[in-house]
């Protein structure tokens, strides 16, 4: 079957019931999209299909024929960063980073629909799991990407030991 991933149409010889996640990872060698649970519970595998965030671990590849798939590798043009990725760096979001491809894809899809999301919109729109617990920074970075003012600086302080922390 033919698959349109990140604007490139490619032939893949796979079973139509194979989840899109494993076609991306093992057949096409695009491994930015991650396996976390296989039951659409964690969102590590989030990609866009025609602009909608979907969980690729439960999306049979046959169902996306003729549709546009966007993965983390294609979120921004080569060598550039999407505003969400930029905000992620500026707000030091990732820890282990494993869930972050999915988080970023979910955030980008949310912002495409709701350019100025509230906290509640983000809670509802980004239900991905992060075991490291980066949620507060994910939220902050989404606000930053939306153009909201966020405070991401470590306040400069002098510690009791005389260390200047910043």
């Amino acid at each position: 079957m033919k698959l349109n991933v990140n604007g490139r149409v490619q032939d893949v010889d796979v079973e139509p019931e194979m989840p899109l996640l494993w076609v991306l990872r093992d057949a096409l060698g695009m491994e930015g999209t991650k396996y976390g649970c296989g039951i659409a519970a964690c969102g590590a595998c989030t990609v866009h299909v025609n602009g909608e965030a979907v969980r690729s671990c439960v999306t049979p590849v046959g169902s996306v024929a003729g549709k546009k798939v966007t993965t983390i590798e294609g979120l921004a043009p080569a060598g550039k960063m999407h505003k969400v990725q930029q905000a992620w760096i500026e707000n030091s979001v990732p820890q282990c980073g494993y869930c972050q491809s999915g988080m970023i894809m979910a955030a980008a899809a949310l912002l495409a629909k709701k350019p100025k999301p509230t906290d509640a919109d983000i809670d509802e729109g980004v239900t991905n799991l992060c075991r490291c617990g980066t949620y507060a920074r994910v939220k902050k970075a989404i606000h930053a990407a939306a153009g909201d003012k966020v405070d991401n600086a470590m306040p400069a302080t002098e510690a009791p030991n005389g260390q200047k922390l910043a």
Binding site: T71, S92, N161
Partner: protein
Amino acid sequence: MNATLSRRQFLKSSAVVGGGLALEFSTAGTALAQFGMKDSPLEVTHWIVIKPDDTVVIRIARSEIGQGSATGLAQLVVEELGCDWNKVTTEFASPNEHIRRKRIWGSMSTGGSAGIRTSQDYLRKSGAQAREMLVSAAATDWNVPASECTVANGVITHGALKKHTTFGKIAAKAAKLDPPKEPKLKDAKDWTVIGKSARRIEVADKVTGKPIYGVDVRLPNMLIASIVQCPVFLGKVKSVDSAEAEKMRGVKGIVKQDDFVAVVADNWWRANQAAKALKIEWDGGKYANASDDTIRAMFKEGLEAKDLPAARKIGDTDAALASAAKVVEAEYESPYLNHAPMEPMTSTAWFKDDGTLEVWVSTQNGEASIAATAEAAGPAYPLEKCEVHKTQVGGGFGRRGAPQDYVKQSVLIAKQFQGKPVKLIWSREEDMQHGFYRPASMVRMKAGLDADGKIVAMKSTIACPSILALLRPEGIDKGIDFTAVRTFSDATYTIPNQQVDYAMRNGHVPVGFWRAPGLQNSFYRECFIDECAVAAGKDPLEYRLAMLKDGDRNKAVLQAAAKAANWGSPLPQGVYRGIAQSDGFGSYTAMVAEVSVDPQGALKVHRIVFAIDSGYVVNPDMCRAQAEGNAIFNLGALYEAHHVKDGRIVESNFHDFPLPRMVEMPKVETVLVPTGGFWGGHGEPGALNVVPAVLNAVYAATGKRVRSLPLKDGKIA
């Protein structure tokens, strides 16, 4: 259940050997060992390689599991080296070279919040040595005394001669010099890199989906495996019918071992589909009927047992309890918990045609991984013929350190596919049901209060499986596993009579180092102290402060947390505070939680104020990130649990082992109060007080004392 027997059986019958054991492997006598051998003419010290373009490569012996240690460790080196931070990169030190060079990089273990605090001395020293060598080489070139040269941002300058050179230009000459034995280190007050929130070095890779994790390894002609392990711990494969699986598309072979079966295919999904089609009959063995009830009965028996070893004995606790004005007594318990890192267990092994064996792995201990590799491969593959490539790790939390089960499995699987790399990825279901769980435990506490409500005696009996018995038996001291008794055995409360008894009750569920091992004891102790404060009619903050000596850092952090949280000030209607303090992993911590509980019993945590004294702080923002992560990780522990039925773990994925989501994230405020003179950790201390601070606030809100986790039906009842 016979504890000793079950442990021994476990070690014998499964593919588990802890890092602690592995590290004892002797490398003496290996032909390749040459102490001090350099692998590159640009290796200035074994930690630092400087390239002609001024790039500084800092070797990282520990693992980067998300805690930010690669960045923090590099900061320690750069502080003394004096190079340009923007030209710094890191690489993981090779475990093979580490063995050949007689463990030149020290510990590769990444646990116990110890990465920075236990390597800061030799890393700063190495940075200073390299700086002095670089300066010395430049000074020799210029024929001036080294003392007349200055260093800034990787440039060496002689002001009077108006000469300058860069680290990159002089590195090859500097590398030929002997490192000075006692280089001069900076005073803490002069630090400009340590104490700054340098951005995570690998951050760009992590937001652009670069294939940097163990699961992402791709090699020529690579095969991919999925595994099915005996659902009953310590059980075995009785028979396998793989006829149907073998016929499925992409399947290359089936690997049968004592306690697992793996399917190897050209694609993970195909391997996993075929694994589901296997018809396996298991022999559950003697634990096939173990359940929550048998495990609780084992703990109950432990609490009643006579002649238990004492982890602490001060004064005459029984006598003081007998004469106390009031006695407070309670039993607490908590369940097994999985680490559940987002990246499942994974390891890729390749038996190469040249007789060597290479492994790529998400590990918390590269040295334990290479030892596990050699052990699983057999005598034809001594350590020096093995290599381990460490990848970025998609979460560890203790799962990928001492237990190297998945590495051994990948080696055993690949051994049957000589010449081809085989990547093993566990399904989430395997990951959930084959963990090394945070021990379940049960504790009975009894406190004697005098007429003023002050605690004069406290007796604690702890029934808890031993992590060390399974993973590092040499660490057991007179029947005591310190990870099972900590927080009781080392409490700094000035209680004149204290007794802490330990009933090691192991069962068959494997236990391991779960982020902040022993942290359930902070829940028990700090909630029980709260009960005593209530019984005494005292404010829980004042009650604790009165039991802590002046000069005890626990007292100072308690005051710092209370001050930052405005302890005692009015709160919005329906919001209540709780407080707790514990030390551990080299740091002193206290926490105030603000919560509300709705009429249906649903808990909402609004704010957490966390104070920590870690002596020094290397990267403040990453310390804050660790505090945030610890907060939500442990709020999850209020709701998560593993149940045991028919000898196996019941929960299988995130639908029945629910991790917290964004909506549950409270506001976390971190108060860094480092007092200097010591180096404490940050990866785990923030975990200690979350549960007790929240549950003490729940008591303040509802009058209901939660003594058993998880919360029944997720509610305060």
